[in-house]
């Protein structure tokens, strides 16, 4: 008679194809993907609140230049991604002014310059026979071919990004609402904004390692957008976004792994699976939000105005 655990394993066999849990690259992928999902979710919620999705997307594209430059220089892509994104965030902050339009302009200028560099480095990488595969790796990620040491680097940089966010939490919320309001409270608004851009640059870099430079926005904005629909509190939004992010990354990784067996040798790109799941979660959240009673229950029933004030005229 088979043991219960063997029965469970047998019943899950069609879901977890052989070797999923014993594969080294899968372990690295799940660890790195999990960390990246949490960091992206937390930073993403603030990116959406602050209306800086364009900056997030631009940093993702700028990462293309960083990643391809790293390949050209023969170092790990993560160093190129972090270096380019942090410098770009710094330049954006320096030339950006506090009005959102000025901020977009600064972002656009830095983005344009970086894409020019990306064109140069990707061209160089492509014509050199030793790095022909780099374009796909940089643009669409390489979660199954990460070096084991990557986990440590991603964990450290992810922790820096989260710590920065935790430190700036309340001033960041306040300055997102109004520059003057925050400044009047003695908050160094530009310093806080610059600190957030640094956290954003790190999050986008980490995300780019996992699902590729141009897709990293999906992991940043998608889970945050889902969370925004489902909860009303910033802290809960971060928790929901993290859950959506981790779920998408892990299930996406599993689907991509299994697809090798299903499709008889061929496989689905893991980035496609992850981003697809994020999008499905977004569509589902619209339906769930409509079904939730919370929007209707937001207001307590009762008198129109709880406060009885004397009439003045």
């Amino acid at each position: 008679m088979p043991s219960p655990s063997a029965a469970v394993t047998a019943s899950l066999a069609p879901v977890f194809e052989p070797g999923f849990f014993s594969s080294g690259p899968v372990h690295v992928a799940l660890a790195v993907g999990g960390i990246v999902a949490i960091v992206s979710a937390a930073v993403g919620v603030f990116t959406v609140i602050r209306g800086q999705s364009f900056a997030g997307h631009s940093l993702a594209d700028i990462g293309t230049a960083g990643g391809s430059a790293a390949v050209w220089a023969g170092v790990s892509t993560i160093f190129g991604l972090v270096a380019f994104n942090v410098v770009a965030a710094g330049v954006m902050e320096l030339i950006g002014i506090r009005r959102p339009r000025g901020r977009d302009l600064a972002t656009g200028i830095v983005l344009g310059a970086s894409l020019g560099l990306a064109a140069l480095f990707l061209y160089e990488d492509t014509i050199s026979s030793s790095t022909t595969g780099a374009t796909v790796t940089v643009l669409f990620g390489s979660i199954f071919t990460l070096a084991p040491g990557t986990t440590t680097i991603v964990a450290v940089l992810g922790a820096v990004s989260i710590a920065l966010l935790a430190l700036l939490y309340r001033p960041l919320l306040l300055s997102s609402l109004s520059y003057d309001l925050a400044a009047a409270r003695g908050i160094p608004v530009r310093l806080v904004g610059g600190g957030f851009l640094l956290a954003l640059a790190l999050a986008v870099s980490l995300s780019a390692v996992t699902i590729g430079a141009i897709l990293s926005t999906a992991l940043l904005i998608g889970p945050a957008a889902v969370a925004e629909r489902l909860t009303r509190r910033p802290a809960r939004a971060i928790a929901v976004a993290a859950a959506v992010g981790i779920g998408s990354v892990w299930i996406g990784t599993l689907i991509a792994y299994d697809s090798t067996v299903w499709l008889g040798g061929e496989s689905l790109p893991v980035s496609f699976c992850i981003v697809g799941l994020v999008f499905v979660a977004y569509l589902a959240s619209g339906l769930i939000a409509r079904a939730l009673p919370e929007r209707r229950l937001e207001r307590r029933p009762g008198a129109r105005d709880a406060l009885a004030l004397p009439e003045v005229d």
């Binding site: 003057d180 009047a184 207001r299 406060l307």
Partner: protein, 278 residues
């Protein structure tokens, strides 16, 4: 912000109230922005418990004056004093524009709580005392009913109440509001004005509220600070809102028409009137 420990401060004008109750004092303040003089020789003082309307058309310098009081603009000349004493934020501020997306995950009560500790580092944990303070303040501005709602989903009048609660929860003695009636319908505007008059008297707070139309404020204003072309005149409504005073301020003939308890200021018909005697 203007210095408040300097011996060089000019003595207060004759008839000025005693310093103990004064929450704001401007002495001959001029402000230049980008080479242009925005405010010129403005003198003004406000007492705790007083409701003052800061009246002027668009571009008259209302926002600049409020930012000056907040210390966000440095005066070219003159001094700004806010002798409020104590620690912590003693000036409450309700800015004209706050960026609130409808879906932003932030409840009305979260925004009010940020008035308590929004300048502190770290995510922070709020205990029962803080929660009670937030509840009390939401109640005081008549916002308890929608405390759990997303701020971005509230109407303009409801958002104003929440912003007023945000500004008041740190117990300031001076409250500045930048065009709080600008985007409200008449009824919501009246409710906000009544609320503020109630707060000024009840909590003994000096209120300086900017508006381009003085009429909604006429029943509650103790004083008026009227700005035109960067220059100011202040006093009681009757003193300031007169054909003579405003003609002098504008540097051209204007007429003040009072009808059905309302005030209308229009350009005068006699352009040649020699009122340029200031």
């Amino acid at each position: 912000m203007g210095s408040d420990a300097d011996a060089s401060r000019p003595s207060p004008p004759i008839g000025a109230p005693s310093a103990t109750n004064t929450v704001l004092e401007l002495d001959d303040v001029s402000v230049s922005l980008g080479g242009r003089t925005v405010l010129e020789d403005v003198s003004f003082s406000l007492e705790a418990g007083e409701f003052c309307g800061l009246i002027g058309s668009n571009g008259a310098g209302k926002t600049t004056l409020l930012r000056l009081v907040l210390g966000l603009v440095t005066p070219a000349r003159g001094t700004v004093r806010t002798p409020l004493g104590g620690r912590g934020p003693k000036i409450g501020y309700v800015p004209q524009k706050i960026s609130l997306e409808p879906d932003m995950p932030l409840r009305a009560r979260d925004l009010v709580a940020l008035g308590l500790d929004g300048h502190r580092l770290g995510p922070g944990r709020r205990g029962p005392a803080q929660r009670a303070a937030v509840d009390e303040m939401l109640e005081a501005v008549g916002a308890a009913r929608f405390a759990e709602a997303r701020v971005g989903n509230l109407s303009g009048g409801e958002q104003q109440r929440v912003m007023i609660a945000h500004a008041l929860i740190s117990r300031p003695r001076l409250l500045l509001l930048d065009e709080p009636l600008a985007n409200l319908d008449i009824r919501a505007g009246q409710e906000v004005v009544r609320l503020l008059a109630h707060i000024a008297a009840e909590q003994h707070i000096g209120i300086l509220l900017s508006a381009h139309d003085m009429n909604p404020l006429l029943p509650v204003m103790d004083r008026i600070l009227y700005l035109a072309a960067g220059r100011a005149v202040s006093g009681s409504t009757d003193e300031v809102v007169s054909t003579e005073t405003l003609s002098r301020l504008y540097g051209q003939r204007v007429e003040v028409i009072r009808t059905h308890g309302r005030v209308i200021v229009v350009a005068g018909t006699d352009a040649a009137d020699p009122t340029h005697d200031f």
